[in-house]
Amino acid sequence: MSNIRIDIASEFKDKGFKQAEKATTGLNRQMVALGKTLGATLSVRAITQFGKASVRAFSEDQQAAIRLTKSLENLGLAFENTRVTEFIADLERTSGVLDDSLRPAMQSLLMTTGSVTRSQELLTLALEMSRASGRDVATVSKDLARAYVGQTRGLAKYNIGLSVTELRTKSFTELQQILTQQFTGQNAAYLETYAGRVGVLNVAYANMQETIGEGLVDAFTILSGDSGIGGGVKAMDLFAEKIADVTRGIATLIASGSDLRKYFTTVFGLLRNPENLLAPLRGIANLGRESKPLFFPGSGQGAKKEEEQRRRAEREAARRAKQLAELQKRTAAAQAKTEKERMKREREIMMLKRAGTVFDLDAIQLVAALQNRVTEENRLRLTALLAIQNDNAEAADKLTQAVLMLNKPALENLGITLKTGDNAVDVINKIINAQTRLFLLNTGIANLPKAKNPFEDWDSILDRLLGKINAIKNAIAGFGQQGAGGGGGGGAGGGGNRGGTGSNQGATGGNNVTVTDPSGVAIQIPGGNVANPFNTFTVNGATIIANSGVVTPNAGDTPNEAAARQRIADIFATIGTFGAGGFNPANVTVNVAGNVMSNDDLIQVITEGLYNIQKSGQAITFNAVAL
């Protein structure tokens, strides 16, 4: 086992524990702070990582550039490589879009149009459309490239306000004009925003990485010498070592000193006079610049020849565009012709059908029916049928509306309100709804519990009432009949019995009718006789009081209702007999002679009688008689 260990805590004796910890921690912290400052800038790892990223960025960029160059070569536009490269670089700088996106977009446009000028215009347009729509430049360029060859469906997603037919029928030049009109200025507006400015910075940083990467790759190439890239591995190692040596040396210089203040002073002194550092660096930079491998683009054929080739390429591209436009036109014409033929065929079919209707039996019958004498409504119905038969939808609809309007009053009776625009289906639905509601209502009504006869108890109540009134009447009549010796009430003394002669009105006259007391009220009178207060008898089922006439029941009265009506009439008639004037206010004169009943009893009887009369609704006038 190795003896690599870190003892966090040891035990033995206290050797200034706190001082040791403090010193160690303090020194550690000082070293860490120093390490952070130096390490971040001079750490080998950081430099290596940046270097690697730069080399990667450069190599990817180079690959993309080679692909574009190859495409140009294949299209016979190798001489335009510089122009294209410069254009992309300028566009990258001004738009904030990396050349990683611009190169593939340019490539797709070049391969479609075959013209650098056209591709440049379209790429600029693609950039504007990309900013407006939020889609990446490569996608927009693809859509434009497809639209160039007639596949315009991809342009629909940019919402340019053209229908599918218009996209298909318009030429690419027209579409380009529309797109340019709609999307110009979008990129400029975007660059004004914060995101746009950050994008431009990102482009600058990416370019810086690529440049440095290029420098690193060149450096390794130089270092590898004659052994070429195969020796680059060793060269990179040595390079890394050198860098590591330098950084380590600086760190060691500072860290190994016992007096940090002294060494910081030295370092700051050095930094205060940057010429000390910059002079050698400047020399080195000059050396690097001189060592940069020279790069000559293309075949170096001269400007004149290039111009000629450019013109030829543009002519070729224009010819191809013309061919495409012609092809589009021919396609559109063919489509229009097909459409026309189809319409014509449909018209012919319609005409044949119409001609056939002459021999259509149903139609013949309908026409014949129309010629007969029919009501207006039926005429409309028949005509509607005929229209349906002949597939004349418009006429059928209008006629149906007219039929419905004719039936409006009848429908309103059913609770259906016709509105303008309601068709037969709407009316049928309304009828169904109304009928359903009606059915539910009827069912509900049928299922209602049977109402009680409100007049059920009238008989007994009225009988009792009449009984009481008769009792009072008899009692009052009894006051007079008992004479001087008798009490007004006619009742047995003190007993409080209601006084009343109870004599049957009919009895004294010698009537031989049967007295039936329907209320069952029996009133005891002196002598033990039972008085029938009603004086009623029954004739043909109608109960009559002798002193009132038979009341004719109303049509539709039930027997109970007829009896009640009669009873009420009887009561009024009975009350009417109380005084000489019939329904005149009753004058009750009480002549008290003697002491037949007690005072209180008499008062009670009179009071009860008066209440009962009041209840019957008759007015009472009180007169005091001085005795």
Binding site: S2, D7, I8, A20, V44
Partner: protein
């Protein structure tokens, strides 16, 4: 130089007897702090031998010493190295000076120690005297390749620079020592905070019991 403390073994004994839960809690907290350092050290270990030392990778064959020593030069095995980076909560044997470690971080494996300490003495590798010498010494190596030492130390430096966690030269390393140095004393603080907390808790408990 480790931090020297007094009474921690006694505290641990008391905790074990009277408050095992506090002991467990204290150990857990210390483990967490120490694990942070060992994990950081393990993260520095690359999967393959660094630099261009391809043949140093462990291919499963046993390392045989070419100089008749007991053990051959150990092969590079990242798993072995990581397994060897560990911590210990147990008390170590007393050394000659009378110190015994209570809590320690360890880099146990031989190859781990090689990776940890390469270049500590000779930052640019030992000068090589060639194999006409019978054996190598501390001052000179026996390789025919004059750049052997430089290449080896340079490759090791690919893992990380040597960092020092205390003021002594022996506290310099690129795995465990570097991780501890980067830890900035947090593990140390956490360890003593845990001990302190356990001590206070035990005192509090024993005070309550006394009152009852």
């Amino acid at each position: 130089m480790p931090v020297v403390v007094q009474g921690v073994p006694e505290l641990k004994k008391a905790l074990r007897n009277f408050a095992p839960d506090l002991l467990k809690e204290m150990n857990t907290e210390i483990k967490v702090a120490l694990k942070e350092v060992t994990d950081a050290a393990k993260a520095k270990v690359p999967g393959q031998a660094p630099g261009r030392l391809y043949n140093w990778n462990d291919d499963g064959t046993e390392a045989v010493s070419r100089t008749s020593r007991e053990r051959g030069f150990p092969k590079y095995n990242a798993r072995v190295i990581r397994r060897g980076l560990t911590y210990s909560l147990g008390r170590s044997r007393r050394n000659r000076q009378g110190f015994s470690s209570l809590y320690s971080l360890l880099n146990k494996s031989a190859v781990g120690a090689i990776v940890e300490t390469s270049g500590r003495l000779n930052a640019y590798g030992r000068p090589q005297a060639g194999n006409h010498h019978s054996k190598n010494t501390k001052e000179y190596g026996a390789s025919n390749n004059p750049e052997a030492g430089r290449m080896f130390v340079g490759s090791m430096n690919g893992i990380g620079a040597l960092k020092q966690y205390d003021k002594f030269a022996r506290g310099k390393g690129r795995l465990l020592y570097a991780a501890y140095a980067e830890n900035n004393g947090k593990a140390l603080d956490a360890t003593f905070r845990a001990i302190d907390k356990a001590s206070k808790a035990l005192k509090q408990r024993s005070t309550v019991r006394k009152a009852a």
